[in-house]
């Protein structure tokens, strides 16, 4: 599943990032690496997602949310 399909309030593990090189690198530098815990805080119908990684909140648009693959189920 992708981050876009995540449920608000649940914590997942990042499995893979499938995005353009530059965006993927930026996410990695912010600490989104495979195995990192990620909590979904908020979702909008338009596809925007707010999540928390390593104690910090980020807002992303649909495109990026679709490119973050989650695995490991609920942690």
């Amino acid at each position: 599943m992708t981050l876009l399909q995540g449920t608000v309030g649940k914590t997942y593990q990042v499995k893979e990032i499938r995005l353009e090189e530059a965006v993927a690198r930026r996410l990695q530098m912010l600490g989104l690496l495979s195995g990192t815990s990620i909590e979904v805080l908020n979702k909008k119908r338009s596809g925007g997602v707010i999540f928390k990684v390593r104690g910090i909140r980020y807002a992303i648009g649909k495109h990026i949310a679709q490119g973050i693959l989650l695995g490991g189920g609920e942690a």
């Binding site: 996410l27 990695q28 530098m29 600490g31 338009s46 910090i56 980020y58 649909k62």
Partner: protein, 685 residues
């Protein structure tokens, strides 16, 4: 150490770096742009125990790669310039992510001091940081401070001074659990981050080759690591044979291993890290609510403008009375000492009418910038990007593009600069083209003047409507531009949402003061000079000095040439044309020029307005003309500085010229539409 110590402030965005910087330098700082780019460069001085410090505030960045201009700039500055100490400001409540940049800085090999900022928030949230173990693991001092409460500041500078000459490095002490290696690379006593054996082997080879070619290279290890990451800049500036060593980019591995180490540090130094930040969660429930978020944002903006107009106008009354008194006093003084009438006219009709009229708007502008500063410092601004992302997506833009547009209500120039936060060059260009339609504070004097002259008790609605029209035109333009942009619409919004915090009065004060200072210095320079030029154009003609308002002046001649073109827009008056041209220097000049043109030296007072309405009315200039004028002023070139900013940000004369023509075209078409449709309706009624 003698001489001054050069300290570079660096840190993640939202880490409180600027607040800390301000705490040392106060408002006495020099703000300039970095050469060639429009990123602000802040410099200040500080003295402590007879030691002079030179402080430079670098832009907020997440890492030291060369992906963005800010990152490149900070990196170059630290590498090349004579920086004695790197002061890395760390938001201790987000230790994990902030340590990533810290590790990169330490890897550079220059003296680094960590400022553990926001320690008050760490405590408040129930977290604890082992400030003894942290320096042991990182090999550099880490000083707890709170920029907001101004605690720990002296200790921090003291450490910086001691650390500047390279002494004071703290011996590294790692445990690394079972990760301890028997490999020859037992660098754990030398380097903070030791990579996997595979990578360390490659670093060894590259380091050797780098030193062969550049024997006096200070930090070959850092360069070697950057080569492994296939960093463009380093590969360009230090090309060596790497084909046999580097088969791919090792960037992901290096990032991963840095974070592995960070997790180790956090494990040992940070306690109760899972403490919830309930306050932010609670506020976010409302502000970023999927449905309520947008109405809440609109209500906040309505409130901002309400305060700007009502309270601002209330205070403005006092300023006007002061100006009237001042103008009268100067007139009396000049007459009593028998000053030459020409000079009297220059001072009263030129300078006081021009500059004075602008100064009375200070309260409105003060309140507007205060509100913007509050929105920014509290952490709400980045939420707006999320709230607006859906709508902006329909316009083919990322939600982040809304931040420059929102800042455009304050001043177009920094707003255009803020567009650089958008990664996609096309998004950036679109944002730059539509941001000038957001009505900036310099246009406010025009609305206030014309709407209170012509629309009586509906004045406020008339002025409000300008903001709506501006926003509407911006949206429409974005939609039209989208037609020419054939890419698949991609939402690339990625923005950090900082914890909500009570805005710091001091930071707000500095922010607002900087803007007010800008406004005042503009009144003292651009508007002052423009006022004198306008006065001169109106008082001199081919036949020498003429009476103010005379048709034979240079100004009238220029105005008359363009009058026929602007007639369909209801602006076919040479005086109006002259003030519109003068308004390209700065928008406030439209008001000051009108004052000069009609010889009214206190244009905002009831008496001044009455005189102006009478003069304009006699020429057939009615409320409809006034509204068309407001629309034209809303949409045409905001000011010369905006043109400069667009040129710098687009780095293209072609796009700069396009944006000028685009704004003039849109302004003309809209003003004509307003005037023609308005006339038709009035006729029909």
């Amino acid at each position: 150490m003698s001489g001054e110590i050069h300290v570079a402030f660096i840190g993640n965005p939202n880490c409180g770096k600027t607040t800390l910087f301000n705490a040392y330098t106060g408002a006495k700082l020099k703000v300039a742009n970095w050469p060639g780019v429009t990123v602000e460069k802040k410099e200040g001085a500080f003295r402590y125990h007879n030691q002079q410090f030179r402080l430079v505030d670098l832009p907020g960045i997440y890492s030291l790669t060369s992906y963005t201009m800010e990152e490149k700039l900070s990196r170059q500055y630290i590498l090349e310039d004579e920086v004695d100490v790197i002061l890395d400001v760390i938001d201790a409540s987000c230790l994990e992510r902030n340590l990533y940049l810290a590790l990169q800085l330490i890897e550079l090999g220059k003296p680094v001091v960590l400022a553990l900022n926001m320690m008050d928030i760490v405590r408040q949230r129930g977290m604890e940081i082992d400030t003894h173990r942290l320096p042991e693991m990182l090999g550099v001092p880490a000083i707890p401070v709170s920029a907001r409460k101004k605690t720990g500041l002296d200790v921090l500078m003291h450490t910086v001074a001691h650390h500047a000459d390279g002494h004071g490095d703290i011996p590294l002490e790692h445990h690394h659990g079972d990760k301890q290696t028997a490999h020859k690379h037992n660098h754990h006593k030398e380097y903070v981050v030791v990579y996997s054996d595979e990578i360390e082997d490659k670093i060894d080879i590259l380091q050797e080759r780098l030193l062969e070619k550049w024997p006096d290279m200070v930090n070959p290890r850092w360069h070697a690591i950057k080569l492994l990451e296939q960093d463009e800049e380093v590969m360009k500036n230090h090309p060596i044979e790497t084909a046999d060593v580097i088969q791919r980019s090792y960037e992901t591995d290096i990032i991963n291993q840095k974070y592995d180490f960070i997790e180790e540090v956090v494990e040992e130094c940070l306690f109760h890290k899972d403490a919830k930040s309930e306050k932010t969660d609670r506020i976010d429930k409302i502000l970023t609510h999927p449905v309520a978020g947008l109405p809440v944002f609109l209500a906040i903006m309505a409130l901002v403008f309400f305060f700007t107009f009502t309270i601002g106008d209330f205070i403005k009354g006092g300023f006007e009375m002061a100006l009237e008194w001042f103008s009268g006093a100067v007139a009396g003084l000049l007459a009593s000492i028998h000053v030459n009438p020409g000079l009297q006219s220059l001072i009263l009709d030129g300078v006081i009418a021009g500059v004075g009229g602008i100064l009375t708007f200070l309260p409105n502008i003060f309140i507007l910038f205060l509100a913007l500063a509050l929105l920014e410092d509290s952490g709400y601004m980045s939420r707006v990007a999320y709230v607006m992302d859906g709508i902006m997506g329909k316009l083919g833009l990322s939600g982040r593009a809304f931040i420059p547009m929102l800042l455009g209500f304050g001043c177009t120039v920094p707003a255009i600069m803020a567009s650089r936060a958008l990664e996609d060059p096309k998004d950036r260009l679109k944002t730059i083209l539509i941001t000038p339609f957001m009505s900036c504070s310099a246009r406010l004097p025009i609305y206030v003047l014309f709407s209170s002259m012509f629309f009586g008790k509906h004045a406020m609605i008339a002025a409000y409507s300008m903001y709506v029209i501006g926003l509407g035109v911006a949206i429409l333009s974005a939609l039209v531009m989208r037609l020419f942009d054939h890419r698949r619409a991609e939402h690339t919004l990625l923005i950090e949402l900082p914890e909500f915090k009570r805005p710091s009065a001091y930071t707000i004060f500095i922010y607002v003061w900087e803007k007010i200072k800008d406004y005042l210095s503009k009144a003292g320079t651009t508007i002052f000079i423009a006022s004198i030029i306008v006065w001169a154009l109106l008082n001199f003609g081919p036949g020498g000095m003429v009476e103010m308002g005379d048709q034979r002046s240079f100004g009238a001649m220029i105005g008359q040439v363009l009058t026929p073109i602007l007639r369909p827009a209801g602006l076919g008056y040479w005086q109006v044309v002259v003030s519109l041209i003068a308004g390209i220097a700065a928008k406030e000049v439209v008001v000051s020029s009108m004052g000069i043109l009609y010889g009214i030296n206190n244009i905002n007072s009831p008496k001044g307005m009455e005189a102006m309405v009478a003069a304009l009315g006699a020429a057939g200039f009615t409320g409809l003309n006034a509204y068309a004028m407001m629309v034209f002023c809303l949409l045409y070139i905001p000011c010369a500085a905006t043109i400069g900013a667009i040129r710098k940000e687009t780095n293209s004369w072609k796009w700069t010229a396009f944006s000028i023509l685009f704004q003039l075209g849109v302004a003309y078409v809209m003003a004509v539409l307003v005037y023609q449709i308005g006339s038709a309706i009035l006729l029909w009624r």
